[in-house]
Amino acid sequence: MTKILFTDKLHNCVEKWQSAGLTVIGPVQKANSSSYATVKNAGELDFNMVLPDRSIKELFFPQTEPILHYSIKKQEINTRESLPPNEPRIIFGARACDASGLAIDDPLFGWDYKDEYWFQRRNESVIVTIACTKADDFCMCTSLTLAPDSTKGSDVLLRPLENNKGWQVEELTERGREAFAKIADFLQESSEPAAPLAVVEEKFDLDSCVAWLKNPENFDSKFWKEISMRCIGCASCTFLCPTCHCFDIQDEGDTYSGIRRKNWDSCSFSLFTMHTSGHNPRSTQSARWRQRIMHKFNYFPGKFSVNSCSGCGRCSRQCPVDMGITETLQEISKLSQ
């Protein structure tokens, strides 16, 4: 016997959470594009997609956000910090890869300086993950030692029932238990079996890839140029990635006042490393793509002991030229054999 949340009760749960002051967020398909978005009612949630086009990252690290308001008068500059709002929320229907991505980035946002914008949101969010029963050609969590039902980064894990009428509930954290306590009335004990998990085939051998990347000789391998020849240098992969976390600080304003904003930035852009002098240490697209791979599977784990990839596959899925981490690591696997 396990705790079950039946689909037909979801409606009540959403209302319950909302009346308890939680913003309810979940996968939504809108205008040809899907993302995790705030919903008014359970009907807006869409659990049929493999995963939303846009990752969960933007709920914690928005593409643009104000951090400082300033005004200038005479010689005097007044500033006011713009803090993230206190807004408890529940993200219902996250995917394991997205939730894992958050956990991967936690140490990054907190190792030297604790990024309030990130942690405030992290602390106020309950992440309810639904294990995947289907996957597509781009999913690769298993290659990253994760799984369709990874619990990493999640507060609650739901396993879809075989009959598709609900989910088995596994509360993982105190925060998750609290949130589900609020809807205890709508949960039932039952022995309905869970649906089989999606089969995500292992696409490359991570260990041998990492070993190859760590070999300094391979830094200048011509492989990088070949693999990235068709890369057009957009930021679609980095911006959709649940773990890519680079940002830029921009001031926007007029003579009298303005706002300092934190905006996503991407190592795929040539401007990312451009010096004021005009010199660019990463002057080619292949150097930039190498940086992205090295960072995810060599430098980041070197610092935080975890790969900066949760295997969602968005980089390949949405790449305008059908590139991505999968292809690159597959090719590296071949090289390292």
């Binding site: 200038i72 008068k73 005479k74 007029d254 003579t255």
Partner: protein, 656 residues
């Protein structure tokens, strides 16, 4: 850190009455980067300017905004004052709170608010102004005068007499222009050729003047002080060096019935010809369109008659390249073809002629040796009707403007006729008599009072032939009655119009023109002899209808402008020019196409070993006039315009 001084002028009551200057000064004092914000009754006055200078020195100001009248009034004044105080003059901007604020608004609060916005916006601009330096360009001290009529000759002589080199280009075989065709000139009635031909000879013989006749301007490149001009020397088929101008060839030429252009078709000429007896140079050309040899490959009689072997049928057009510092355009005018006025019968009745044809009849050197004879039968007309404004001041069929000289020349024609045909009768139909000018009204009064010209105020509605007479029907609007006159000859006071190719030619040399094709002066009142293109000046009737004194005066004025330009080795120009960022330029050449002045060139960027890295746009500072059309085109924002940079304009908008 910017330290801007804001100087708010009351302009007496002009600004002070509608803009609360104290509030304005106070508000601007609070503006970021403003170090000084003061008001004063008249900043343009000497004490006002002194106070600006003092403020600059005392506060080490980095920029100045004078909120006052239009920059078109006093920008130069205050820039000069800034320079005197040691500040780069281009660090001064004017906020126009008079013409575009206090004078046009009634609500004091709203006017004050607007004045604040205007001034703030200029403060934001001036913070981003750069220290600009005037651009220096070298000057080639050689003038080109285009057109060998009286205006061109006068300009050429004035410049040459001042010791500067001149190239005088005339497209006809001889100098002279229209003035050479005239009989006598108003208001003195002295003989046109008597005063004209000595000047033609003087121009031809002047050591500083290089005369190129039967030549046309092929192209003009470059810019003020540095024009490159290509001249096409049309082939005369007569070698100018060996020909002595004896005229044997002309006598022998079997084709003798070609209508003479110089005589407006009233006389005849040969195929090898000089336009008129006093031509300068007095050497013939072959009219290839009519010459028998050029038509069927036989004849060459002239060759046999020439003792000097000067005739060469194989002669080709040649091109001369000239380096020129300044250009005087004196390309003159044409007379309108009156055939469009069917009611006057011009072109239908041979005895309906135009004013220029009458000049040829009255000229001692003309086809009738100065006798007034009808073209149809060679008889002396006893009654002549003159019709003024034949084409001018007529928006429906002619031109809207007044042709200016017709009143005077018609009066002159009536007088000349009266002097030659003592019992003849003249009737002049006119709209108004415009005789402003020294001795002009007296002259036209003389025509009426002494030479008994009968002026009829009214228009002619029809001219037709009846019993060997030209019947002229018109209306006398003063009597309010129709009139009908049986005339022997009708003379139309034809409008002066631009040369038929005036617009095309303007494009060749790069100057502006009006809807008719008259060339535009830079400013109608204050810069009447300069074209809108620096270094190109205008003289004579190519700009607008003019009489001889006006043409000569303008020619001398142009000459003085040229001489002023030639008085310096280098020329200073406003530094408002485009500059390209070669690092970001992608070399798409949209700017090259967009530039109205061909000021943008392609420049190769080479590496140390001379290998081409890329090709970028380069703005020639001598040619660029600073319109900024290229800047707007440039997608990558690589080009910018000094004085109106992207940063400045952005700041202006953001300061509003």
């Amino acid at each position: 850190m910017a330290k801007i001084g804001v100087f708010i002028c009351h302009c007496g009551e002009n600004i002070g009455a509608k803009v609360d200057c104290s509030r304005l000064a106070e508000a601007l004092g609070e503006h970021p980067g403003v170090a000084v914000s003061v008001e004063y009754k008249y900043f343009c006055s000497d004490p006002g300017q002194e106070s600006v200078k003092k403020a600059i020195r005392d506060n080490n100001l980095t920029g100045v905004v004078v909120a006052a009248c239009s920059p078109r009034m006093h920008e130069a004044t205050f820039r000069k004052a800034c320079a005197e105080a040691g500040l780069n003059p281009y660090q001064c901007e004017i906020a126009n709170i008079r013409e575009q604020c206090s004078w046009v608004h009634t609500d004091k609060d709203m006017a004050t608010e607007k004045a604040m916005d205007i001034t703030r916006s200029m403060v934001e601009k001036v913070k981003r102004n750069n220290n600009l330096q005037p651009i220096e360009v070298p000057v080639t001290r050689r003038a080109l005068v285009i057109g060998g009529g009286i205006a061109g000759i006068q300009a050429a002589l004035d410049i040459a007499n001042a010791g500067q080199e001149v190239v005088l280009v005339e497209r006809e075989p001889s100098l002279g222009g229209h003035m050479a065709q005239l009989s006598e000139t108003f208001p003195t009635l002295d003989c046109s050729q008597c005063i004209m031909t000595p000047r033609m000879v003087e121009a031809a013989q002047h050591p500083n003047i290089r005369l190129l006749t039967y030549a046309e301007i092929e192209s003009v490149d470059g810019y003020i002080g540095n024009f490159k001009v290509k001249v096409r020397m049309k082939s005369r088929c007569v070698d100018m060096n060996s020909c002595t101008g004896c005229g044997d060839c002309i006598t022998k030429c079997p084709l003798k019935k070609i209508p003479s252009e110089f005589d407006c078709g009233l006389g005849k000429r040969t195929a090898i010809y000089t336009p008129f007896a006093q031509s300068v140079p007095n050497k013939p050309v072959i009219d290839k369109a009519n010459c028998i040899y050029f038509k069927n490959g036989k004849c060459k009689i002239c060759t046999k008659s020439c003792q000097f072997n000067s005739i060469n049928f194989e002669m080709q057009d040649e091109f001369i390249e000239l380096e020129i510092g300044a250009i005087v355009v004196a390309t003159g005018f044409q007379v309108q073809n009156n055939a469009q006025y069917g009611e006057y019968g011009y072109g239908k009745y041979p005895d309906v002629i135009n004013g220029l044809q009458f000049e040829r009849l009255a000229s001692a050197s003309g086809p009738t040796a100065g006798k007034i004879l009808r073209p149809s039968d060679g008889k002396e007309p006893q009654t002549v009707v003159f019709i003024q404004c034949a084409g001018s001041r007529d928006p429906s069929k002619g031109v809207r403007y007044c042709s200016k000289i017709c009143c005077m020349y018609t009066a002159k024609h009536a007088m000349l006729y009266a002097h030659k045909v003592h019992d003849g009768k003249t009737h002049i139909f006119y709209m108004d008599i415009r005789a402003a000018g020294k001795g002009y009204d007296e002259f036209s009064r003389r025509a009426i009072e002494e030479d008994e010209a009968s002026y009829v105020r009214g228009r002619v509605s029809k001219v037709w032939q009846e019993n060997g007479k030209l019947m002229v029907r018109g209306v006398d609007t003063l009597l309010g009655k129709p009139v009908e006159i049986a005339a022997d000859m009708v003379v139309l006071a034809t409008t002066m119009i631009p040369q038929p190719d005036a617009k095309e030619f303007a494009k060749t040399i790069g100057i502006g023109y009006d809807e008719y094709g008259f060339y535009n002066e830079a400013h109608l009142k204050l810069r009447p002899v300069e074209s809108s293109t620096a270094g190109i000046f205008l003289a004579g009737a190519c700009q607008s209808p003019k009489d001889i004194p006006d043409s000569v005066a303008q020619a001398s004025a142009s000459a003085s402008k040229v001489l002023a330009l030639f008085s310096k080795d280098k020329l200073e120009r406003e530094p408002v020019i485009a500059i390209n960022n070669e690092a970001t330029c992608a070399g798409c050449w949209g700017c090259v196409l967009a530039c109205p002045y061909n000021a943008i060139e392609k420049k190769d960027i080479l590496d140390r070993s001379g290998r081409l890295i890329k090709r970028v746009a380069f703005v020639n500072p001598g040619l660029c006039q600073g319109c900024g059309t290229c800047v707007t085109f440039c997608r990558s924002n690589s080009i910018d315009l000094a004085g109106f940079t992207e940063k400045q304009i952005f700041a202006e908008v953001m300061g509003l």
